[in-house]
């Protein structure tokens, strides 16, 4: 069981599939801290989607461009930051298209990732990085810790 503040950092290439490495690391970290399994599943999906966005959109699938993942826990708040190093900024976050719009052909079938991140995390932010690129921040508050 964890006591106090701690964090992990990870860098993966912009190759689809490496989001699985990131989500595995963050899920293991959350497990060490004592998160319950349902919340870990939420974390895994949200972190995967953040990494996919960084790989596909921010870094434009250029394998040499790294994706930085930092996760920290301060005893109350679990934070995951995913930063790309690309020069393509995320577009303005708009209301996600509904499945009805997608089925009607009025919207791309893709584009559910941001909706999932926003729904699964307590807080979801997209902001420019200090260096070129974008950072997605996912935060879970009042983390429920599984009983031993």
């Amino acid at each position: 069981m964890h006591n106090g503040k701690t964090s992990i950092e990870l860098v993966v290439p912009s190759i689809l599939g490496y989001e699985i490495v990131a989500r595995g690391a963050v899920a293991t970290f959350a497990h060490f801290i004592g998160f319950d399994q349902a919340r870990i599943e939420d974390l895994k999906t949200a972190v995967s989607e953040a990494c996919i966005n960084a790989i596909e959109h921010g870094n434009q699938l250029q394998p040499d461009l790294p994706v930085h993942i930092t996760s920290s826990y301060d005893g109350h708040r679990f934070t995951v930051e995913v930063s790309d190093t690309g020069t393509k900024p995320f577009g303005t976050i708009t209301e996600p298209k509904t499945i009805e719009e997608k089925l009607a052909g009025a919207a791309s079938l893709r584009g559910m990732g941001i909706m999932l991140m926003a729904a699964l995390a307590d807080e979801f932010l997209v902001e420019p990085s200090a260096a070129p690129g974008n950072t997605v921040r996912l935060i879970w508050y009042q983390c429920e810790v599984a009983q031993p």
């Binding site: 349902a38 999906t45 499945i99 729904a119």
Partner: protein, 121 residues
Amino acid sequence: MLEDELKVSTRVIGNIAVIDLVGDVTTFAEAKINAAYQEMSQNGAQQILLNFRQNDYINSAGIAILIGIVTEVTRNDQKLAFSGLSPHFQKIFRMVGLSQYAKIYQDEQEALTDLQNAATA
């Protein structure tokens, strides 16, 4: 490699076409899932059950593939259902609206029983 992380197979039980999806459902799954659906449709399937097994990873690209299947099912006046999803992915499917277009069953047996009863009712 990720491209090999999904195994897709098909079978027919009564009047229900079952497509088994074993493994991860990601962007790499598109060709396999669409091929299985087309095969079953060309064989005249009217009820299609996507039976998920050991799916630790279904991402937004995988969900987009399934929305594409919903589009085809609607166009072809077929019925679609899902079974075998973990509680987490059942929640995800409800969040994105897939459950409005395809009933979610806990497991294959529950799905087959209900779909067969509905067909004979």
